[in-house]
Amino acid sequence: MSVNPMYHQTNQHMEEELSWIRRAQKDPESFGPLYKKYHEQIFRYVYQRMDDEETAFDVTSQVFLKALNNLQRYEYRGVPFSSWLYRIAKSELYQSFRDKKAQRTVNIDSFQLFELIEEFVDDEKEENRKKLFKSLKLMKEKDMQLIEMRFFEKRSFREIGEILEITENNAKVKTFRAIEKLKQLFNTTKLSHGDQES
């Protein structure tokens, strides 16, 4: 499984990033390089979880505005700056769902779906695909976000751990449990007549 290449950085990159942060703490205009570097990542993270593109851009702007507002309180803890941004993004995202500005959506492509079905059954029949769709809708949010990050966004357990503020091992265990729950839902889900037709 591939990992997000943007996340893993060398010490030199982290130090450079830290110097940008220090400068931006003094002058908001110096936040520019960080905005340019992370805008796409954060947008994709947000857009992955909602349906509307414009709202996703709005939420992304809000994330950077909030980051700029709270930059004075940012403390470097040896992890990439992006994990801090992801945490803000997560909170802004859920706020937009609560405000009903956006709908919680799971976006998946055929290849990812195939990979996921392979975890449960051997054949990728249309019926199994529908069953998986139905099961995903029944998943709890905390489990869904782990599956999304690991299977749809191809993030490493380390990165998942840093975004969710848990250890790498804990991220592994929780993701495994989430998959088990999805498998259970997949096996117990029965397709109704309406589901068969859609």
Partner: protein, 250 residues
Amino acid sequence: MEIKKVNLDRKPITSEYIQSKQDFQHVVNAFSKTKIPVWKQPLFYGAIGVASLATVVTSTVIHFNNTEIDGKTITLSTAKKEDTSESMATMQFASVESSPKNQETKSENSLMKSNAVKILSINTDSNELVRTISSVSLTSKKSIEDESFSTFLPNISGVYQGDIAYDKLCSSNGIEVKNGVEVRSFKIQYATGISDKEVVIKDKKLSEVVCKDLEKSGFNQMVFITEIEAFDGERKITLPSMNFWVKFDS
């Protein structure tokens, strides 16, 4: 949170398109709009508060220091600490010089035994007594009964601070200060058994009502005498506060 929708193979968005939507200036503008002005921040009020308090304290200290008492200049040149279990600090007045006004030269050595007051420094110039009483401690109850030090301190029956018998407190001539300084009013705080009472007395003596209240309560208690206003000739001065441990059993 409920998952409302699952999309399969949604049309991907290119990096170029996302980059074209970047608008850092919009974020910076929004940031400058959301920034709270300095005068609206709690820190600002904190700083103003501290500065005001410092100003008030400084002006009070300056006012207090400029109070001339007795036309004399007292130089405290040495301060010795005596190691006694009863007293916390013992200060020695090395010399008392007269001001040019009366051109007397006196030299007094008087021991001021104080378990309640620590006079850390006494600076002088030719006309004014400048005193800094830096801390007052009420940890011990020993009375200060040495009369020689009471040149500028108010006292009741020679007691400035500490233990005082009820009879002494109520049947004396009230608050006395040496060298013609006359006490006109003061505030007294004491407990009546149910609650604390605060009475302003326009005299140098404790009123009968206060004495009766104290007698009625019948228990040893701490009494605070503050805002002692006196006249040194024509000039109105405020004297240092006094605290007494009023005893009925002595």
